[in-house]
């Protein structure tokens, strides 16, 4: 994933007409394109949107999507919500943590593992999102296949 810099930040702010009420959309766009929000970007956004650094920081800290550290190349999210629990997502989560030898929010070997609370795929539980794509009816075997595809894509 490309690295964000001053110019790209300004371009994104301009896409939203430098409106401070678009802050959540601006941050979402940054995370979508670059994966995370560095501290210097928060400062720059505060300057360009005429907000205090505390305002921008507060919004970044508030929302789960706004990561402030660089994630791995691949982001694997496992749904933890009730419908997926009813179909074994707790067991799938334990299996994934063991297989990948990592905990939630860790990044190892290019993979970041995160919890997610509902992907709206509750009739095809358990659900997993990999790099923004939702997969349904994920058992251990299918999880392994998805991981193999991910590694094969590198």
């Amino acid at each position: 994933m490309a690295k964000i810099n001053k110019t790209t930040t300004s371009e994104i702010v301009a896409e939203f007409n430098s409106k401070s009420e678009m802050l959540v959309q601006i941050l979402q766009t940054i995370v979508g394109r670059f994966g995370w929000i560095p501290e210097e970007t928060i400062r720059q956004l505060a300057d360009e949107l005429n907000l205090s650094r505390a305002d921008v920081h507060g919004v970044v800290e508030y929302y789960h999507d706004f990561r402030t550290s660089e994630p791995g190349k691949h982001i694997v999210k496992i749904c933890q919500a009730e419908a997926c629990q009813a179909m074994g997502s707790r067991e799938l989560t334990d299996y994934a943590k063991k297989t990948l030898a990592m905990s939630f929010h860790d990044t190892e070997n290019d993979i970041t593992l995160e919890p997610i609370y509902c992907l709206g795929n509750c009739a095809c539980s358990p659900a997993v999102m990999i790099n923004g794509k939702t997969h349904g009816r994920v058992d251990e075997a299918r999880f392994n296949t998805l991981l193999d595809e991910l590694r094969g894509s590198d």
Binding site: V24, A81, C122, A123, S125
Partner: protein
């Protein structure tokens, strides 16, 4: 010879189990063997358990093939499926699938039927007819129809839509807004998503009708970021409607201006609460506001705002087309019309079932759902999302109706029905309810912010068998405080699932201890 139409859904559930790969394989095999086909990416009929559900149009009738995988495609062509040929995946005509024909499709009737991104297809299926009718009959007539329909907010709160619209229409001010809540964060719910992916222009049309009725020229859709495919479909549909002159200034020479801006959420569950959503739309932290003032008086940017859920809004077009009385003729008591129930979790035939109010949980779970996926007995059913009570098997004959559910300490909410079999540990789920509240609390009020964390600790002590009776009383007291003193439903209703576990499944705390 005309090309044979083949439909492969582009909808999250279908795509999550391989619909894109199936579509690709169909394109490749048909190219290789020279079959003349037209591949249409429709939305979903909502029978998620049959996905990917491929349909072939033969002599005007659509023949369904269920649970198709990419590896089936060669053999489907070998079986002449483009003429409706026999194959182990063949279900028969789509319109004969009992799961679908036994529904009362009012709001979701175009879902699965049309290509969601084709404005021609939409218009051929009554698209923009209701908006045109609204223009000719006037705003007062629209407000009267919505009030007569008895439609209540489908997001969970069940507030009468007609009264909300009337309040905004009567509120003084030049600038008013329509804010569509598409932050469908409750586990077990996906009806908003299916509608937006399968009939996005239906939502656009209904939002324009709402704008016309109350005098709003701008609408916002607040869509959760967990739905990237929905975002792609919805943004293309908005652009298409705008290009065709159904959004923008002076729509079809009506003198009415209306446009829609699509916003993405950022992973906060509380932003599904209407005032938190408004804060987020304004670019701020999604922290709930005190009420009053109601959003209908002081909403987005302080202006009068209609905040409605996706399904609520999308139900309006047909209310205008067919009349409010007709809608009110379905359902029971004060729960008029239909609700899109969503069968989820441990269920054999999961998916969307739009049905008139009054159907029982048992009918939904057994007749439509076919019982649990595991084949084991149902232990508990959570209705209405993570803030809904866990209902034990003995209450499955309760009719789905707002008031009947309140009477058993539960709620219909957004119509999500999550089924658990007898292997579920309810103490763990009570703990999860508190844990989820602790993770998602916006932090503004103390009962929610602190109460949820203390709740996890108390449940943990009960599970560990530590002073169980004292901790039981403490947990009940904590639930009372959260319920009475929280600002919004997050802290105020987290006690519902917890109390239901204490009431119906208290023995699971004991079994947890024994397991240790």
């Amino acid at each position: 010879m005309a090309r044979t139409r083949i439909y492969v859904p582009r909808e999250t559930a279908a795509v999550s189990v391989g619909a894109d790969e199936v579509a690709l394989a169909i394109a490749q095999v048909s190219k290789k063997n020279g079959s003349k086909i037209e591949l249409i990416r429709n939305g979903s009929w909502g029978a998620s358990w049959l996905e990917p559900l491929v349909e072939v149009e033969v002599d005007g009738a659509r023949i369904a093939y269920a649970n198709v995988s990419a590896s089936d495609v060669e053999s489907l062509f070998d079986s002449d499926f483009i003429k409706g040929g026999e194959h182990e995946r063949r279900l028969g005509p789509t319109i004969e699938i009992p799961y679908l024909i036994n529904q009362d499709r009012w709001t979701f009737w175009r879902c699965g039927l049309i290509n969601p991104l084709s404005i021609e297809d939409f218009e051929q299926h009554q698209g923009f007819k209701a908006l045109t009718k609204a223009f000719s009959e006037g705003a007062e007539s629209v407000l009267a129809s919505v009030l007569a329909s008895g439609l209540r907010g489908r997001g969970g709160a069940g507030f009468p839509t007609g009264i909300k619209w009337r309040t905004v229409a009567d509120a003084p001010g030049e600038q008013k807004y329509i804010a569509c809540n598409a932050d469908e964060g409750d586990s077990g719910t996906f009806s908003d998503r299916i509608l937006m992916e399968s009939d996005p222009m239906g939502l656009i049309e209904s939002m324009a009708i709402a704008g016309f009725a109350v005098g709003a020229s701008k609408g916002y859709i607040y869509l959760r970021s967990e739905y990237p495919l929905t975002h792609s479909i919805l943004s293309r549909a908005i652009a298409t409607a705008r290009d065709a002159g159904w959004l923008g200034d002076n729509i079809k020479d009506s003198g009415f201006d209306f446009d829609i801006e699509l916003h993405l959420g950022a992973g906060s569950y509380v932003c599904g609460e209407e005032t938190a959503m408004l804060e987020s739309l304004e670019g701020k932290k999604g922290i709930v506001r005190y009420k009053p003032p109601l959003p209908a008086i002081e909403g987005l940017f302080g202006k009068p705002t209609v905040v409605n859920n996706v399904v609520t809004l999308a139900s309006v077009a047909n209310i205008i087309n067919l009349g409010g009385e007709r809608y009110a003729g379905m359902g029971v008591e004060r729960s008029k019309g239909t609700l899109a129930f969503q069968l989820a979790g441990n269920i054999k035939r999961g998916g969307l079932v739009e049905k008139s109010f009054g159907i029982t949980l048992r009918e939904l779970i057994d007749d439509f759902g076919g019982g649990t996926a595991s084949g084991r007995p149902v232990k508990a059913v959570q209705v209405g999302g993570p803030l809904g009570a866990y209902i034990p098997a003995e209450h499955l004959d309760t009719p789905l109706d707002y008031e009947a559910f309140i009477a058993i300490g539960a709620m219909v909410g957004h119509g999500g029905i999550v089924v658990f079999d007898d292997t579920a540990n309810m103490a763990t789920l009570a703990r999860f309810a508190m844990e989820f509240c602790a993770i998602e609390s916006c932090g503004k009020c103390t009962p929610c912010r602190i109460g949820s964390t203390r709740g996890v600790e108390v449940v943990d002590r009960m599970i560990a068998g530590e002073k169980r009776e004292e901790n039981y009383d403490l947990l009940v007291e904590l639930c009372d405080t959260m319920e009475d003193a929280s600002l919004c439903a997050m802290g105020g209703m987290t006690p519902y699932p917890v109390r239901s576990v204490l009431k119906y499944f208290a023995e699971d705390f004991a079994s947890s201890e024994e397991a240790q």
